[in-house]
C-alpha cells in the first residue's frame, strides 16, 4: 500500500500547486471581468465596482467601432499568422537541414538584429511605411507583424527542427526524393507541433501589438486594429472609460482562447511519455 499512498500524496500536492497557481493567474482576470460589468468605474485598479450593469457590453457595440476593430484584428492576425508560418518553416528548414555558406552567421544575424530596441526607433519604422506607401493600411501591419513574429519564432522553431532525426531525410534522399519533396512530405508533417506553436504565437503577437500599430494607423476610426482601438478608450482626451476597455479586453481575448483550444491537440503530447504513470 505504501507506494500507492505516496503516489496519492504527490498527486494531491501537484493538484494543490496547480490550484494555487491557477488562482494567482485568474485573479487579475477575474477583476477585469468584474470591472467589465461595473457601473460608474473611474479608476482601473483592482477594486470591486459598487453597481453592476450589462451596459458596457452594449455600449461597446453601439457607441464604439468595436465590431470593425475586432474584424480588422482578426484579418490582420490570421494573415500575419499565415505569412509567418510560411516564412518560418522555409527558413528554419534551411537553417536546420541545409549545409550552406553563411549558415551560422546568418542565424546569429537573425538573433542580433532583434536586440535593437525597435520601440525607440519608431521614427524609422514610420519612414519605411511612408516610403512603401503602407501608412494607414492593414496590409502594412500584416507585413510588419509577420516579420516581427517570424524573426522571434525562427529561433524557437530551429530547436525543434533540429530534434527531427536527420536519418529520415537522408533515407528519402537516397530514395530519390528532391529537397522540396522532403520539405513538404517529411519535415512539415513531423514539425506540426512546432508549427502549431508558431501559429499561436504569431497570432497573439499580431493581435496584441500596439506600439507600431498606433504609430502608423492614424486615420480613420474604423480602420484600427483592436489593440489600438481599445487603447483609444482610455487615452482619449475625454475621460478614461475603463469598464468599456475591460469589456473589450474580455471579448477580445476570445479568439485567442478559441485558437489555443483548437490548436492544442497538435502540441500536447499523449499520456504515455510520463514516468509517474507506469
Amino acid at each position: 500500500m505504501r507506494p500507492k499512498t505516496k503516489k496519492r500524496l504527490i498527486r494531491a500536492l501537484l493538484h494543490g500547486f496547480l490550484v494555487v497557481l491557477a488562482f494567482v493567474t485568474i485573479l487579475p482576470f477575474g477583476y477585469i471581468v468584474l470591472l467589465s460589468f461595473g457601473e460608474g468605474v473611474v479608476g482601473a485598479e483592482a477594486t470591486i465596482p459598487e453597481a453592476f450593469t450589462l451596459g458596457n457590453y452594449r455600449a461597446l457595440f453601439e457607441e464604439t467601432a468595436f465590431a470593425s476593430w475586432f474584424i480588422n484584428s482578426l484579418l490582420l492576425s490570421l494573415a500575419a499568422m499565415g505569412i509567418a508560418i510560411v516564412l518560418v518553416s522555409l527558413s528554419v528548414y534551411a537553417f536546420s537541414r541545409l549545409n550552406f555558406f553563411g549558415r551560422f552567421k546568418t542565424f546569429n544575424f537573425v538573433m542580433l538584429v532583434q536586440i535593437f530596441p525597435l520601440t525607440l526607433s519608431m521614427v524609422s519604422i514610420f519612414r519605411i511605411f511612408m516610403v512603401l506607401g503602407l501608412l494607414n493600411r492593414l496590409s502594412g501591419l500584416i507585413i510588419v507583424n509577420s516579420v516581427l513574429a517570424s524573426a522571434a519564432l525562427v529561433l524557437v522553431a530551429k530547436g525543434y527542427f533540429d530534434t527531427i532525426p536527420k536519418e529520415m531525410d537522408e533515407a528519402a534522399l537516397l530514395d530519390g526524393a528532391g529537397r522540396l519533396k522532403i520539405f513538404y512530405k517529411i519535415i512539415m508533417p513531423l514539425a506540426k507541433p512546432i508549427l502549431a506553436i508558431v501559429a499561436m504565437q504569431s497570432f497573439v503577437l499580431a493581435y496584441n501589438e500596439y506600439v507600431i500599430a498606433s504609430a502608423v494607423m492614424t486615420e480613420g476610426i474604423d480602420s484600427m486594429p483592436l489593440a489600438v482601438g481599445l487603447q483609444s478608450l482610455i487615452v482619449g482626451q475625454y475621460g478614461t472609460n475603463w469598464s468599456l476597455y475591460c469589456a473589450g479586453a474580455v471579448i477580445g481575448s476570445i479568439p485567442m482562447l478559441v485558437l489555443f483550444y483548437s490548436l492544442q491537440k497538435y502540441f500536447i503530447s499523449n499520456l504515455t511519455s510520463g514516468s509517474v504513470k507506469d
Binding site: L18, T25, P28, G40, V41, G43, A44, E50, A79, M81, G82, L87, L90, S91, Y93, L98, N99, F100, F101, K105, T106, N108, M111, L112, V113, P117, L118, T119, L120, S121, I125, I128, R137, L138, S139, V147, L155, V156, T163, R179, M188, Q201, N208, T218, G220, I221, S232, G236, Q237, G239, T240, A249, S253, F260, Y261, F267, I268, L271, S275, K277
Partner: protein, 765 residues
C-alpha cells in the same frame, strides 16, 4: 494536412489582395483637412465641405483621425508629402514646436477676434503672430456635488474653500472620513496650478510684450512655500490622497460614489457621474479675492494651416467658411452627439456659446461660462518640461517631508537646465557626396575582408563536409523572402537610427536637422553616466531573474499538465495562457491595484493569515521583487507553450533508461526533461532575455519608482529603456534617444554574442 494547406493558401491570397487595394492620388488642388476622432463630427464637417465645394468649386477632403495627440508629429512627417494636410486640428500647446520647425502658416485672425472667446485666439498666439483659431476649449473648474453643497454656498476665495472643505467633511464613528469636503492630489500641478498662482507662484513668466520667458520660473518663490503650507494643512485634515501611488481617478471615483463635495477637475467622467445619479455641477474656481476667480489651465483645440499647403487660397477660404457661426454651431452639436450633449466639445465661438443649444443645458452652459476664466497652457516648446520633474519633487515634499525650500530650488534648476538643453543649437557638418561614397566603400571592403578571412579559417579548422554551392543557392532561395523583409524592417531602422544619433533631430527641430558628429554620445557620457551603471546592473539582474523563473515555471507546469488526465489538463491550460492573451496594460494595472499597500487584495489576504503587510510597490527592494514576480507571471505561459511542443520531441528511450535506473519523477524532471528543454530552448531563452531589455511593462506597474527623491536619478525599478525613454522623449530629444538605443544595442549585443559562444562551447563539450 491538405486542409491546413488550403487554409494557408487562402490567407496568403488575402494578404496579397490587400496590397493591390488601389490608392487614388489626391488631386493637387484638393484641400485636405485632418479633423476629429468623433465620426459624427467628421460627417458634419463633410457636409459643410460639400456645401463649400458647391459654392466655390474647391474640393475638400475631410480625414478622420485617431487622436489629436498624433497631429504634431504626423504633420511634421507628412508636411511636404503627397499626403500633406492643409488644415490640421491641433492642440494649442503643441504649436510652439511646430512653428519652431517652420511648419505652420501665420494667420490674420482680426476677423475672428470679436466672434470668438479671447482664450481661443490667445492660445494660438506665439512669437508675435497668430497661428490658429480655437474651436473647443478643454478646461477645468470647481466640480461640486449639488446634494452636498448648494451653488450659492460655493467658496469664492481659496480661504473659504479651505473652511468649506473642513466643514463639509464628516467622519464615521470609528474616525475614518466618510464624506470629503474636498480632496486634492498633492503631486498634481495642472489642476492645482491656479491655487499655486493665487499665492504668487508661477510656471513661465512673461516678458513685457506678452511672450513667455522660459528661464523665468516662479516655482521656488515665497508664494510656492505658502502653497506648500496650505497643502500640508489640507493633508493634516486628511483631505488629500493618502499615498503617492494614487491618482486623480481615486478622487473622481470618490465623487462618483457621492463621498466628495468639491474637487478641482473637469467633466471627463461626467457620464459615470450621471450613471451613478450624482447631481453635479461645475463652477469657476475660487480666487485670491472674491472679485477675480483664479484661471484654470486650459488646452484649446483649434485649426492651424500647414506652411506647405498646395492651395493657399482655397485653404484659407475654407478655414474662413468653417469658422462661420452657423457652421461652428453644426460642428459643436455633432461633436456633442446632438441631443446627448456629452460636453466633449466646449465651443469657443461666442455665437454658439450664446445659442439655445448651449444655454438651455446646465452643463454646457456652465462649461462655456468657464471660458472667461481660463488661461491657455504655455504654448512654447519648453511648456511640457515641468511634467518631467514636478511630480517627483512634490512627492518628496509632501510624502517624505523633505525640506520644501531646497527641493523647490532643485526643481527650478532642473527645469532651467532642460530649457537650456532645448535651446542649444549645433553647427551642422556638411559632408560632400564623394566622402559618403568613399566611406561606404571603405566599410564594405572592410566587412568583405573580415568575412573572407574568417571563412577561410573556419573551413580549414572545421571538419566535415564543406558546404556545396548548389545547396547554398537552394538555401538562399528558401531564406530570401525572410531576409528581404528582415532587411527592410530590422536592418534599415538600425542604420537609420545610427544616422539619427549623429544628428540634432528633435521635437523642435523636426525638419531642418543635420549631422552634428558625436555630440549626443558626448552628452550621454558626460551627463547621463550617473545611474547608467547601476541601472545596467539592475536591468541585467531583472532580465535574468524573469527568464530563469519563467523557464522553470513554464517547464514545470508543462510537465505536470502533460501527465494529467486530458480533460482537467485542458482546462488548466486555458487558464494558464490567460496572462499571455489579455492586453498587458490592463492586467498590469490590475496588479498595481492588487499589490497596493493599504487595501490591496494581496495584503488583505496576508492580514487574514495574521501576517504583516508588505509594501509591495512602495519600498525599493519590494518593488523590485514585485516587478520580477509580476513579469514572470506574464512570461511563464509563453515558456509553458514552447515547452509543451518541445516535450514531444524528447526521445522515449531517455525516460525508459532513467526509469530502469530507478529515478523518481523529480529526478527525471531535474536530470532529463529540464536539460533537454534547456538545450532546445537556448536560442529562445537568450532571445527572451534580450526582449526583457525592451520591457515597458514594468513602467506601468511601478512608474520606475519608488524614486530616490533626487532629479535625474533613476528610480528603483527603472530599466535602461524606460529611463532612456523618459529622459529623451520628455524633452523631445529624439536624436539623443537614438544614441541611447545604439549604446543599448551594442551593450546587449556584446553580451548576446558572448553568451552564444559560451552556449555553443558547452553544447559541443
Amino acid at each position: 494536412m491538405r486542409k491546413l494547406t488550403l487554409t494557408l493558401l487562402g490567407m496568403f491570397t488575402f494578404a496579397l489582395l490587400s496590397f493591390v487595394s488601389t490608392d487614388v492620388e489626391a488631386d493637387d488642388q484638393t484641400v485636405r483637412v485632418w479633423f476629429s476622432h468623433i465620426e459624427a463630427e467628421n460627417e458634419a464637417m463633410r457636409d459643410i465641405a460639400s456645401d463649400f465645394s458647391d459654392e466655390t468649386g474647391v474640393d475638400v477632403e475631410i480625414i478622420s483621425r485617431r487622436s489629436i495627440f498624433d497631429a504634431p508629429n504626423d504633420l511634421a512627417n507628412n508636411a511636404e508629402t503627397a499626403n500633406r494636410p492643409d488644415i490640421v486640428f491641433m492642440q494649442a500647446p503643441d504649436i510652439g514646436r511646430m512653428v519652431y520647425s517652420d511648419l505652420l502658416k501665420p494667420l490674420d485672425v482680426s476677423d475672428y477676434e470679436d466672434r470668438y472667446a479671447s482664450v481661443a485666439t490667445e492660445a494660438f498666439y506665439y512669437d508675435g503672430q497668430h497661428y490658429g483659431v480655437g474651436y473647443s476649449v478643454d478646461t477645468s473648474g470647481l466640480v461640486y456635488n449639488k446634494d452636498l453643497i448648494a451653488e450659492e454656498d460655493l467658496p469664492k476665495t481659496w480661504d473659504e474653500f479651505f473652511e468649506k472643505a473642513e466643514d463639509l467633511t464628516t467622519h464615521t464613528p470609528c474616525g475614518a472620513i466618510d464624506v470629503y469636503g474636498a480632496r486634492l492630489n498633492p503631486r498634481d500641478m495642472w489642476f492645482n496650478y491656479p491655487l499655486m498662482e493665487s499665492f504668487g507662484a508661477y510656471y513661465f513668466g512673461r516678458t513685457p510684450d506678452g511672450s513667455y520667458n522660459p528661464y523665468d520660473i516662479g516655482l521656488d518663490n515665497q508664494g510656492m512655500l505658502e502653497y506648500v503650507d496650505f497643502m500640508r494643512d489640507l493633508m493634516d485634515l486628511g483631505l488629500t490622497l493618502d499615498n503617492p501611488n494614487q491618482s486623480e481617478s481615486h478622487i473622481s471615483s470618490n465623487f462618483a460614489n457621492g463621498r466628495l463635495a468639491m474637487m478641482l477637475y473637469g467633466l471627463w467622467n461626467a457620464s459615470v457621474y450621471q450613471s451613478r445619479d450624482i447631481d453635479y455641477g461645475i463652477a469657476p474656481l475660487p480666487g485670491k479675492t472674491e472679485e477675480q476667480p483664479s484661471e484654470a489651465l486650459t488646452t484649446v483645440q483649434g485649426f492651424v494651416v500647414n506652411e506647405f499647403t498646395r492651395n493657399e487660397e482655397g485653404t484659407l477660404s475654407f478655414l474662413e467658411y468653417l469658422l462661420e457661426d452657423e457652421n461652428q454651431q453644426t460642428l459643436i452639436e455633432a461633436g456633442n452627439r446632438e441631443e446627448r450633449k456629452t460636453g466633449e466639445r466646449n465651443p469657443a465661438n461666442l455665437s454658439v456659446m450664446n445659442s439655445d443649444y448651449v444655454q438651455k443645458d446646465d452643463i454646457l452652459s456652465s462649461l462655456s461660462e468657464l471660458n472667461a476664466h481660463a488661461q491657455p497652457f504655455p504654448n512654447v516648446p519648453e511648456g511640457p518640461i515641468w511634467y518631467n520633474h514636478a511630480p517627483t519633487i512634490l512627492q518628496t515634499i509632501f510624502y517624505d517631508d523633505a525640506n520644501a525650500e531646497e527641493k523647490l530650488e532643485e526643481l527650478t534648476d532642473a527645469i532651467r537646465a532642460d530649457v537650456a538643453v532645448m535651446g542649444e543649437t549645433y553647427e551642422h557638418i556638411e559632408i560632400p557626396w564623394y566622402v559618403h561614397l568613399l566611406a561606404a566603400l571603405g566599410v564594405f571592403s572592410l566587412v568583405g575582408t573580415v568575412v573572407f578571412f574568417r571563412r577561410r579559417r573556419r573551413v580549414s579548422i572545421k571538419a566535415g563536409n564543406p558546404p556545396k554551392w548548389r545547396t547554398t543557392l537552394f538555401a538562399w532561395l528558401f531564406l530570401s523572402p525572410f531576409f528581404i523583409l528582415l532587411g527592410i524592417f530590422y536592418v534599415f531602422p538600425i542604420g537609420h537610427n545610427v544616422f539619427l544619433s549623429l544628428t540634432d533631430y528633435s521635437g523642435v527641430n523636426l525638419r531642418d536637422y543635420g549631422l552634428i558628429g558625436f555630440e549626443n554620445y558626448r552628452t550621454i557620457f558626460t551627463t547621463g553616466i550617473t545611474g547608467l551603471l547601476s541601472m545596467t546592473i539592475w536591468t541585467f539582474f531583472f532580465a535574468f531573474s524573469v527568464i530563469f523563473l519563467s523557464f522553470i515555471m513554464g517547464s514545470l507546469v508543462a510537465v505536470i499538465l502533460d501527465k494529467f488526465d486530458m480533460r482537467i489538463a485542458k482546462i488548466y491550460r486555458l487558464v494558464f495562457i490567460l496572462p499571455w492573451v489579455i492586453p498587458a496594460i490592463i492586467t498590469l494595472l490590475m496588479w498595481r491595484g492588487l499589490l497596493e499597500t493599504d487595501g490591496g487584495f494581496v495584503n488583505q489576504l496576508l492580514q487574514l493569515m495574521r501576517l504583516p503587510k508588505i509594501p509591495w510597490l512602495t519600498h525599493p527592494v519590494w518593488a523590485r521583487v514585485s516587478s520580477i514576480l509580476v513579469m514572470t507571471w506574464f512570461s511563464f505561459p509563453y515558456y509553458m507553450i514552447v515547452a509543451f511542443g518541445m516535450l514531444k520531441s524528447i526521445p522515449k528511450e531517455s525516460y525508459e533508461a532513467a526509469e530502469m535506473d530507478g529515478a523518481n519523477s523529480v529526478q527525471v524532471f531535474r536530470y532529463i526533461t529540464l536539460p533537454w528543454l534547456f538545450k532546445a530552448l537556448i536560442p529562445v531563452l537568450i532571445m527572451g532575455f534580450i526582449m526583457q531589455f525592451n520591457q515597458f511593462g514594468v513602467y506601468i506597474l511601478t512608474e520606475g519608482g519608488p524614486t530616490t527623491g533626487s532629479l535625474g536619478e533613476p528610480g528603483a525599478t527603472d530599466l535602461l529603456i524606460t529611463f532612456v525613454f523618459n529622459l529623451a522623449f520628455n524633452t523631445h530629444r529624439y536624436a539623443l534617444a537614438a544614441a541611447y538605443s545604439v549604446i543599448i544595442f551594442i551593450l546587449v549585443g556584446v553580451f548576446a554574442v558572448l553568451s552564444m559562444v559560451v552556449a555553443r562551447k558547452r553544447m559541443e563539450v
